[in-house]
């Protein structure tokens, strides 16, 4: 039998890690199937459709029928007649946005802090004024915007992609490293001439291998089902995904560098990831946060990744326009890898 050809240790370690990953069915689900399911669910929930009609109440009195008829003509209102007390009750519970009371002079009862109530106020008044004989002095033409690249799904897909790259980078590396430490496999490995940096690099290379699949599947899915497109250069998009994957592989290593139990590493990973899920603009823009914390938010790796992904996918930005985000990602990857290697607990 011919001798087994010797492969370089870094390659051998990377292959071993890839095989390990592929033989873990749960991991396959979380990395590949889960993001698609999430995109599907959110894409469906926020699909384009006519806005719901605003429910408004009309208090049952002599003017009720006439008012109901006037409001029913509005395309955005859904009027219903209630006895006074019941109408107030429905309003209090939020089932109605506005209640029309009063005799000859109508009284609008509504909560001015609710945006839908303010819309209802304008629409109701408009409808009743028109019914009472008001004439518009001019007519405006409407142009509705549903341009691709500016829909919620276009905002969402890059965010989910970023979140997925973060999650798989952290879990994929964190668990395997801590597990190997628990099994004393790390201790056994350092007793060989293996270079420690090779072990850690192999973890990162494994992530990059699967990143191609992970990103590809989600992007093709979003394109086929929702028509989400990459407006900028594909090469730049690939580079950003790669840098994002490496940044989170580095952070994953750092988080796993000292933890002795799976519970400890899970806790640490949540501590790192949850703030970014909330702050880094996965589901909604971080522009809503106060200006004072925005620089901190922008320094987070997930924010940099999400901004860069949106920049290249939705705005078609060039690499020069995304330089700050790219630099942030590289810094996170390099610094966390180096610190992780330095403080790594091998036994």
């Amino acid at each position: 039998m011919p001798e087994t050809p010797a492969r370089p240790p870094l390659l051998e370690l990377t292959i071993a890690r890839c095989k390990e990953f592929l033989r873990e069915p749960e991991a396959i689900f979380w990395v590949f199937a889960f993001p698609i399911l999430l995109t599907m669910a959110l894409g469906y929930a926020f699909r384009e459709k006519a806005p719901d009609r605003i429910p408004v109440g009309v208090v049952d009195n002599a003017f009720a029928k006439q008012r109901h008829a006037a409001l029913a003509k509005s395309p955005v209102l859904q009027p219903k007649i209630y006895p006074l007390e019941q109408g107030k009750e429905e309003l209090r519970r939020g089932k109605l946005s506005l209640l029309v009371e009063g005799d000859a002079t109508p009284v609008y009862r509504f909560d001015a802090t609710r945006p839908d109530a303010r819309t209802a106020r304008v629409e109701v008044d408009d409808a009743l004024q028109a019914a009472a004989g008001r004439r518009d002095v001019m007519t405006a033409r409407e142009e509705r915007v549903t341009e691709k690249g500016s829909r919620y799904i276009d905002f969402l897909v890059p965010g989910l992609l970023g979140m997925n790259l973060m999650g798989t980078g952290m879990w994929g590396i964190g668990f395997s490293v801590v597990n190997a430490r628990l099994r004393k496999l790390l201790k056994r490995l350092v007793a060989t001439p293996m270079r420690k940096s090779h072990y850690l690099l192999a973890q990162i290379f494994m992530r990059i291998t699967f990143l191609v699949l992970e990103v590809g599947i989600l992007i093709i899915f979003a394109w086929l089902v929702f028509g989400v497109r990459i407006r900028g250069s594909i090469a730049l998009f690939a580079l950003i995904c790669l840098l994002g994957g490496m940044a989170f592989a580095g952070v994953g290593l750092l988080v796993a560098s000292r933890a002795k139990t799976l519970e400890a590493v899970s806790g640490l990973m949540n501590l790192v990831m949850v703030p970014m899920w909330i702050c880094s603009g996965v589901f909604f823009s971080y522009e809503r946060f106060p200006d004072t914390v925005k620089p901190v938010i922008r320094a987070l790796p997930l924010t940099a990744l999400n901004d860069a992904l949106r920049g290249v996918m939705n705005d078609g930005f060039a690499i020069t326009q995304l330089a700050p985000q790219i630099a942030t990602l590289i810094a996170w990857g390099v610094v966390s890898y180096l610190i992780g290697l330095k403080i790594f607990r091998w036994q």
Binding site: E12, R183, K184, K187, A191, P193, M194
Partner: protein, 309 residues
């Protein structure tokens, strides 16, 4: 590098933990080509000692030289030249036996062909099985295969057969013997006396981090001055002063209600023991005899048994 000097030498080795002196001034010298056994009960400091020698732990004090080199200066070179099996390493469940061995092979400059090694360790039938599916004996043989795959000069085995069935134990002993035939040096820890007597040229018995006896198994047993052991129980138990007049009597140890007497000759001593029991008005319950072993030496020296000490 082919530095001169013994395979392993350490002087005045010390490792103190907050609650225990794991190693307390240990001197060892293992010649090249020798099989050396480190024997002692659990907690004697065997594992701490062997891990210091393997470069996995650092001593608080003392000198260690492996193949004439020190861990501080020649760590990388030494890792190329030794093969180790830890007390409990669990290889990744998801990889196969062959994949694991091939991975370990890649770390070494020079090494054995994994396929050949698997055949030598009778693991070729399990070549494509996942590590998670192996029996205890197969896992241990894989661990030894990973230790051998780098063509080491010295093999360090920490309790290689603990918890294995007799068949698996025999298989491992054969592997160790074959490695020695090729000129390799072996340092192993065990708490099985039989294993030490069978495999080792020399044995060091350690207890509480101290060396308490050193020599070939035969020399050590000879230290008992008594080649035979009589073990008996009686109802009621009898006092220790009863044995003084027995011919060729060298000492007695009481354990769990049973007496162990060390004597020169069974033929002379057994009738006298029976006579003594009868004269004390007691009834004999059990009586066994055996040739003295390292276990008996340990009991004689510490008053405790190796396995449950």
């Amino acid at each position: 590098m082919t530095a001169n000097g013994p395979a392993v030498s350490c002087r005045n080795l010390k490792k103190y933990y907050p609650d225990v002196k794991a190693v307390d001034g240990l001197d060892l010298l293992v010649e090249r080509g020798e099989c050396f056994g480190l024997l002692g009960p659990n907690g004697a400091g065997k594992t701490t000692t062997i891990e210091i020698l393997e470069g996995l732990n650092t001593p608080d004090d003392g000198e260690v030289h492996i193949l004439g080199m020190s861990w501080n200066e020649h760590g990388q070179e030494l890792r190329e030249r030794i093969g180790i099996s830890l007390q409990e390493t669990q290889f990744t469940d998801k990889l196969t036996v062959f994949e694991t061995l091939r991975l370990f092979r890649s770390f070494y400059r020079d090494g054995r062909d994994p396929e050949v090694l698997l055949r030598e360790l009778s693991l070729d039938e399990k070549r494509d099985s996942r590590n998670g599916k192996l029996s205890g004996g197969q896992k241990q043989r894989l661990a030894v295969a990973c230790a051998l795959v780098g063509k080491p000069d010295i093999l360090f085995l920490d309790e290689p057969t603990t918890g294995l069935d007799p068949q698996s134990r025999l298989q491992l002993w054969e592997v160790v013997s074959r490695f020695r035939e090729g000129g390799g040096t072996v340092l192993l820890t065990t708490h099985y006396m039989e294993e030490a007597e069978r495999l080792c040229d020399r044995v060091a018995i350690v207890d509480h981090g101290h060396l308490i006896a050193l020599g070939t198994p035969k020399e050590l047993i000879a230290k008992l001055d008594a080649p035979h052991i009589i073990e008996f129980t009686s109802e009621p138990a009898i006092e220790s002063d009863a044995f003084a007049n027995i011919e060729g009597f060298h000492g007695a140890t009481q354990r769990g209600g049973a007496w162990q007497l060390r004597v020169d000759s069974l033929a002379a001593a057994v009738p006298q023991v029976l006579g003594t029991i009868e004269s004390r008005g007691a009834k004999l319950i059990t009586l066994t005899t055996h040739a003295a072993t390292l276990e008996d030496l340990f009991v004689a020296m510490t008053g405790r048994e190796l396995r449950d000490a």
